[in-house]
């Protein structure tokens, strides 16, 4: 049976439709959830898409974390349910404290839209389980605040726990700590990624690489139960 995938729409989300389409292309039963909704109990997976939620006028993701739907997202995440934040969604997950670290202005201080190469570093998340470690993907980025930053202690923890999920290869486009392009939570069910897998999921759009993320999501058997077990266990050996 297809996964029920909730794509959250904040005012200012602009990758919601692309994300919904990419999830459906991977076979998921994807649907929109409005930022005022408070019930995500029907969802197997929750995705926070890219965009400029609430205009991002204060700080990227800083206002969205207070929207009504975020309580339900937190509950879903704490119950072990898979959550993916793409670009602005990643920023929101950091602001909400569901992922550690934060996203700052690109090192070169300019918005940057271009394809980048990333390497899959962890395959024991709901969004990379079909990948192999070391696999390289070409994905587009489009962000002004995409520089992932963590203090030395947090960065060391991320590395020790193998919670860096994707890393830029070659040119680091935004100056992120340890070339980080995406990370996961301690329980590994909450994942954030700066590049946009939904924009490059078929040959017509330059290649199929991004589809891996959504196919993994659809194929994975990360149930809320399994996630909860992992959250209790802390460390784990993959799925």
């Amino acid at each position: 049976m297809s996964k029920r995938v909730a794509v959250v729409v904040f005012p200012g989300s602009n990758c919601d439709a692309d994300t919904l389409a990419a999830a459906r292309a991977a076979g998921s039963d994807a649907y929109y959830v409005w930022h005022r909704d408070t019930d995500l109990r029907q969802a197997d997976v929750v995705i926070l898409p890219g965009g400029f939620s609430y205009g991002d006028y204060l700080r990227s993701g800083a206002i969205a974390r207070f929207s009504p739907v975020m309580r339900a997202v937190e509950a879903h995440a704490l119950g072990g349910g898979p959550v993916l934040g793409i670009c602005n969604g990643f920023q929101i997950l950091c602001e909400a404290g569901l992922l550690s670290g934060g996203l700052m202005r690109n090192a070169r201080l300019k918005f940057l839209s271009r394809p980048v190469r990333v390497r899959v570093e962890a395959t024991d998340t709901p969004f990379t389980c079909l990948s192999t470690t070391g696999e390289e993907l070409v994905l587009p980025i489009a962000h002004g605040d995409g520089r992932y930053v963590a203090d030395a202690h947090t960065a060391a923890e991320l590395e020790a726990d193998a919670r860096v999920v994707w890393r830029y290869v070659g040119d680091n486009p935004n100056g992120s700590t340890n070339d980080i392009a995406g990370i996961c939570s301690v329980a590994r069910n909450v994942v954030g990624i700066m590049p946009h897998p939904e924009r490059r999921n078929e040959a017509l759009l330059g290649g199929p690489d991004g589809a891996r993320v959504f196919q993994s999501m659809e194929a994975g058997h990360a149930t809320q139960h399994a996630g909860a077990l992992r959250a209790v266990g802390g460390r784990h050996d993959g799925m």
Partner: protein
């Protein structure tokens, strides 16, 4: 309401004096016309309304008579000029709405906000037709990057466009940037938007239905941008800096909400018309919707939500605060309309109603402050027939040649100089700041000939391009006008798309000067002839006059926005070599045409001579060939040959896309090509009607045969070399040979280096 007392001045209104009339950019003739129309002197608010609607920007008074000569019909035209945007028919009930518009003056004094609000305005023009915006393009012109002020303007404009379009979530798929001394005091910022809709969902900005309600939707009205339309209709002066407070401030987040709310309102069927409050704000949107629908309107200005207390009727009518819509709804649907607006966190406030007396009437509670016959207000605006006479200095320039004493460096050195010239160099520094992949439909991203996007669920795609080379127009406006259309068509056709139609943005100086009006008239004649020959009607656009600064008028710069249809989007042809060993073919004829060339300009600092002539029949045959060859899947790449000539085109084919990690070498032999030409003419002439294509070796004979069949000269010039190989062009007496990686460094770093990045 007819026959009521005449409008009375609002408390605090200044008396109407000749000086006040002048300040409003109205001539004494125009003022007499206003008095005759009203049968009395206007109120202050009325004077402001006439000033805005009869400005060049809104009334097209100098351009109307010429614009009438452009071809506007064709089986593919759903909506021609006169609406917020033009609309062309696509397969399976789809249609494409598109328009280009200038925001030159605001950007000259406040580059970031000026450019941002330019992008915002053109988006609204497209989504008020019921179309979802799917692409932005922009054509920009600046003075030399050697000057700090020009770098500031360039950087600010690019950031302004980027921040706005990125936030709303519209990919930028193309555009062009050119640099020239003539733009130093007056940069040009033209933004084009392309939207998709189902033809049955098209909505027009026509108020109808007496008793229907007018609502303001979106942002509140503030004191920003008052008189923007009149500002756009005068020359820039040293005092223009003081106009900075008249430049509007953009809020792309509200725009995104307005976009979603507007499309939902249109789809719901609860509204009968919708229009952006753009130039001249509430005044033009309400007056134009009423005039198009042949009805009157009555607005209570006291009901318009304002940002600050104490705003007068005059200010409310003429404010150009951004992100506002005027909506006409049936009275029994108000609750539904307000609910949709509220869902998107927007206010929808009833402010007036449609009337049957044809009057444009505004009141402040019980006091009538404006009462003007609606149709004459919009349609009887003055028409000017300015004198057109070519400047003798231009005629002299056209017959001049560079001094023979300045020898040209070697062909290889010339090529490197051209690749390093910002007008030719890669614009990656620019388009990297624009999101080009949001909406996940970008098939060909910026950096090639034209952008290509898919239409979800359909096999076909759409190609888009903007083009214009002011050097040619300056030297010969008629040929330059033709060239702009021809190049746009060629760019679209290089991707394999059939050119469908155009929108144009006509940037010129002060039309009251005969030399400027001659350029305008002749350029339009060229555009018209080219559009007829290529079967691409004009669906609308924008005229921007008065692009003058204390140093003079900008070079005449008509910009053409072209839309094309690609029957199979998966057959889209990129601009760059893709496989080693492929055949390289030059299509079209190269003639001794160095007039107005980049070579003379970038290497000798000379702009003059006769620009290349456009043979429209040859152009049409080339388009046919490119489209047919792409349809049959014969081509691996196709690239238009234009600015910088064959040498630059070949180098671009080899250097590859902006993120190519392994560019190809190229080995081309021109010893037997165009034997009568000098090496410089051969390499750098900008003859039109040419393209460089590559194809698999076993397809080359088929392409050559097809070219012969369709009447296009073809020359088998060489082969694509090895990855990271050498770019080599062999001439009768010498050669160009450089590692392609070295060319890439020059070409991709020219602009970042100058911008200090």
């Amino acid at each position: 309401m007819t026959g009521g007392p005449p409008p009375t001045p609002f408390p605090g209104d200044p008396p109407i004096t000749l000086a006040l009339v002048r300040e409003h950019n109205l001539t004494s003739d125009e003022y007499r016309r206003i008095e005759a129309l009203l049968g009395r002197a206007p109120t202050f608010a009325e004077l402001g309304i006439f000033s805005a609607l009869w400005s060049e920007h809104c009334s097209y008074k100098h351009s109307k008579s010429v614009l009438k000569t452009l071809p506007v019909t064709g089986p593919q035209v759903v909506q021609g000029p006169g609406e917020n945007a033009g609309v062309l028919r696509l397969p399976h009930g789809w249609a494409v709405a598109f328009k280009i518009e200038s925001h030159n003056h605001p950007s000259a004094v406040e580059p970031y906000q000026g450019a941002a609000t330019g992008a915002g305005g053109i988006l609204r023009d497209v989504f008020t037709m019921g179309a979802r915006p799917v692409a932005l393009l922009n054509s920009l012109r600046f003075g030399s990057l050697d000057d700090a002020r020009n770098r500031y303007l360039f950087g600010g404009v690019v950031r302004g466009i980027g921040d706005y379009g990125n936030c709303v979530g519209i990919p930028t798929l193309g555009g062009e940037v050119d640099f020239g001394a003539g733009y130093a005091g007056n940069p040009l910022v033209n933004a084009m938007c392309v939207g998709l809709l189902k033809e049955r969902d098209l909505i027009r900005a026509r108020a109808h239905g007496v008793g229907n309600v007018l609502l303001c939707v979106g942002s509140r009205t503030g004191r920003d941008g008052i008189h923007g339309a009149s500002f756009a209709s005068e020359e820039l002066t040293r005092e223009s800096e003081q106009r900075r407070p008249q430049v509007q401030v953009g809020d792309p987040f509200t725009e995104k909400l307005l976009l979603e709310a507007s499309l939902e309102l249109i789809a719901s069927g609860h509204i009968v018309a919708i229009q952006d409050m753009g130039a001249a704000g509430l005044t033009s949107s309400s007056a134009e919707m009423a005039a198009r629908g042949g009805v009157g309107v009555e607005i209570d200005l006291a009901l318009v939500p304002t940002r600050e207390p104490g705003m007068t009727p005059y200010e409310i009518l003429l404010s150009e605060s951004q992100e506002r819509m005027l909506v006409v709804a049936k009275p029994d649907r108000l609750a539904e309309v307000r609910a949709i607006a509220a869902k998107w966190e927007l206010d929808a406030t009833p402010v007036g109603r449609v009337t049957d007396d044809g009057m444009y009437r505004c009141r402040w509670k019980d006091q009538v402050v404006v009462e003007i016959p609606g149709r004459p207000l919009v349609e009887d605006s003055p028409v000017c027939h300015p004198e057109a006479r070519e400047d003798e200095a231009i005629a002299r320039l056209r017959s001049s040649r560079p001094t023979p004493h300045t020898p040209l460096p070697t062909p290889e050195e010339c090529l490197l100089r051209l690749l390093d010239s910002p007008s030719i160099a890669s614009k990656r520094w620019v388009f990297e700041q624009y999101d080009s992949t949001v909406q996940a439909s970008t098939v060909i991203a910026p950096g090639g000939d034209a952008g290509v996007l898919r239409v979800r669920g359909e096999a076909f795609g759409v190609a888009v391009s903007t083009d214009g080379n002011a050097r040619y127009v300056l030297l010969d406006p008629y040929e330059g006008g033709k060239a702009a259309v021809a190049e746009a068509a060629r760019n679209v056709a290089c991707t394999g798309a059939r050119p469908l139609g155009i929108t144009n943005c006509l940037n010129f100086g002060n039309p009251e000067r005969p030399a400027v009006f001659q350029q305008f008239k002749e350029a339009c004649r060229g555009i018209a002839d080219a559009c007829r020959a290529l079967g691409t009607p004009v669906t609308g656009g924008n005229v921007s006059f008065y692009n003058e600064s204390p140093t003079g008028a900008v070079p005449p710069t008509p910009v053409i926005g072209m839309v094309g249809l690609l029957p199979r989007v998966d057959h889209a042809v990129p601009s760059f070599a893709r496989a080693a060993g492929d055949a390289v073919l030059v299509l079209g004829s190269t003639r001794a045409e160095l007039g107005g060339s980049a070579l003379w300009e970038a290497v000798l600092g000379f702009t003059g001579g006769e620009p290349p002539r456009v043979d429209l029949e040859a152009e049409r045959r080339l388009v046919d060939l490119l489209v047919t060859a792409a349809e049959r899947g014969l081509l691996r790449s196709a690239h238009d040959c234009s600015h910088g000539g064959l040498a630059v085109a070949l180098a671009e084919v080899a250097m590859g896309g902006p993120y190519e990690e392994h560019p190809f070498g190229l080995d081309v032999d021109l010893t037997s090509y165009a034997a009568r030409l000098s090496p410089y003419e051969l390499l750098f002439s900008e003859s039109h009607g040419r393209a460089v294509v590559t194809c698999a070796q076993d397809r080359a004979a088929v392409v050559v045969a097809l070219a012969a069949e369709l009447g296009v000269p073809v020359h088998r010039a060489g082969v694509v070399g090895a990855p990271n190989g050498t770019f080599r062009v062999t001439l009768r007496d010498g050669q160009i040979a450089r590692p392609v990686a070295a060319l890439r460094r020059v070409y991709f770093e020219a602009i970042p280096r100058r911008m200090g990045d």
